[in-house]
Amino acid sequence: MPAVIRIEGLTKRFGDVIALDAVSLDVAENEFLALLGPSGCGKTTLLRAIAGLETPDAGQILIDAVNQNGRAPYQRPVNMMFQSYALFPHMTVADNVAFGLRQDGLKGAALTDRVREALARVEMEALGTRKPQQLSGGQKQRVALARCLAKRPRALLLDEPLAALDKHLRERTQLELMTLREKLGIAFIVVTHDQDEAMGMATRVAVMDRGRILQTGAPRDLYDRPLNRAVAGFFGHMNIWDGAVTGTDSVACAAGTVRVADPLPREGAMVAVAVRPEQITLRGPENDVGSNQITGVIAEVVYGGTVSTYFVRHGEHRLRVVRQNGAGAAFRRGDTVTASWPAAAVRVLAP
């Protein structure tokens, strides 16, 4: 699929802080891309740079293969939905939506038609005469969305679109955004700090930290195959051990010998191996010391409804294990258990 937005070596500094460090990224015509990362990782700066609201120090942004360097925000064919929604408080809902169209020189019936169409798309056509102050949070969000969509942008940029909504509304809006994008067939780029949100909505996620993109991929790939500790840590929990490669398929670490199905670097190289807590099984203590298993004492059990989390003390490490409740024998605090995992569940991370 052709890239609607292409970002090449984009760098932006604020004084001593480097907000974007040579970021390169392609956004396809029809994808829902999430920029995910902790606050201050540069994700909002990247979004604002695409909109033209930040001027990069180096690198370029191409939209439909046209270099956008030196083009002002009002000259770019993308629109942004701001975190605060940024509705104009002194204009009605309809005037807010019409504002962008008026800048394109639209007048009369053509203008009213486009405004009505945009408001209808978010089911707000009845509230066109209201002022933003008279709207609920969810309604404001819809107006902000309609205001962007009315311009028929090549891509829609959304800065933390769900952050200001309460939990119940957030889930509904998430689904609506996904359907809307499929209907419109344009690229959505959403900035979020919430991994559940990113994984739930996006077709592709770019994980950012300290101005760099650490990894991009489908949500499932990022969860199953993180490339490094930061990405692994961002999606749920992982048990991680540092170790050294001892053979074509084995790593020596604090958990003993760990057999790995994934390809490994040459012997002697330092790596980290990681296992998801839900891929570990617990059983009664066994004496034979094999690979991919450890024996230890349960230090803590945290009950959590459908699943429980067990912390198994093993030397200086605490192994985190998640088990379905009611599946197999229940273990208690103080029990000695053997924990094991298949070689296919082991991920190799950059140290």
């Binding site: 609201l53 002002a72 940024a86 509705l87 002194h90 394109d104 311009k151």
Partner: protein
């Protein structure tokens, strides 16, 4: 929180300190006697005499004209200065800009008056055909310091205003001038109104600067009041003071009401 009785007392005493003198002036403006302190009966005679005083009425007219013109000028320059300070970040010689903008507010009136008079005198001798000192010089002098108040109010308002709103306008295709006139300016309107009102009141209040820069033909109301106060307390001035207090209260009442309506419409 626990109540502290003497605190309320201190507040009441402070407010009494502020209001009793004004109340006394208003009461005595209705005194029939020419002797200012002896109460001889209720009368509105002094108001009649005041309204028939040509000199005072002419001065009041001058002051209103000066007030309106200087407040308008102050709002234009002050809004631009306040906007630059709030929105342009670090620009060249920003500290000098900020000093020149804010300092007139705190420079003593005698200094402002003297230095502006010297400027006007120099301008008259340097530029031929320049009209002499008069209304225009008072207007400029008043705007030169009330502009600082407007700038402060505008900057405070802009600092409290979500910047994303202006970004959004730009993102939706509006050019900088459109953003300024269609978005920023309307949102600054309450600050501009407050600034205008304050500039107007400051102009109506000033006697020192006007005394320096006024020409022989232009006398403002405070200048007339000042010279008659120097001659002593007079019932006519009592009436004038009462009228001014009432006008101020009315004006502020309207402003407060308008502000409240805006607020109740907002939430």
């Amino acid at each position: 929180m626990r109540r502290i009785p003497w605190l309320g007392l201190a507040l009441a005493a402070g407010l009494a300190f502020l209001y009793v003198p004004l109340a006394a002036v208003i009461v005595y403006s209705f005194n029939a006697s020419r002797l200012v302190t002896v109460w001889t009966g209720f009368s509105t005679a002094w108001y009649g005499e005041l309204l028939n005083d040509r000199q005072i009425m002419a001065a009041a007219n001058t002051s209103l004209v000066v007030g309106v013109l200087s407040a308008t000028l102050a709002v234009i320059v002050g809004a631009a200065a306040g906007y630059c300070l709030a929105r342009f970040g670090a620009f060249r010689a920003r500290w000098l800009f900020a000093t020149a903008t804010i300092a007139p507010l705190v420079v003593p009136e005698v200094i402002t008056g003297l230095s502006l008079l010297l400027l006007f005198v120099a301008a008259e001798s340097a530029v031929p055909f320049l009209p002499g000192r008069g209304l225009a010089t008072i207007v400029i002098a008043h705007a030169s310091f009330s502009m600082a108040t407007v700038a402060l109010i505008v900057r405070a308002r802009l600092a409290g205003m979500d910047r994303e709103i202006e970004d959004a306008a730009s993102d939706l295709g509006a050019r900088p001038f459109t953003v300024f006139f269609r978005i920023t300016l309307p949102m600054m309107a309450p600050a501009l109104a407050a600034g205008w009102l304050l500039a107007f009141v400051l102009s109506l209040d000033d006697v020192v600067i006007a005394s320096f820069v006024a020409g022989p033909q232009s006398t403002t109301l405070p200048m007339v009041i000042y010279s008659s106060i120097r001659l002593g307390v007079s019932p006519k001035i009592n009436a004038l003071a009462a009228l001014l207090v009432a006008a101020t209260a009315l004006l502020l009442g309207c402003a407060a009401l308008a502000g409240r309506n805006r607020l109740s419409g907002r939430r």
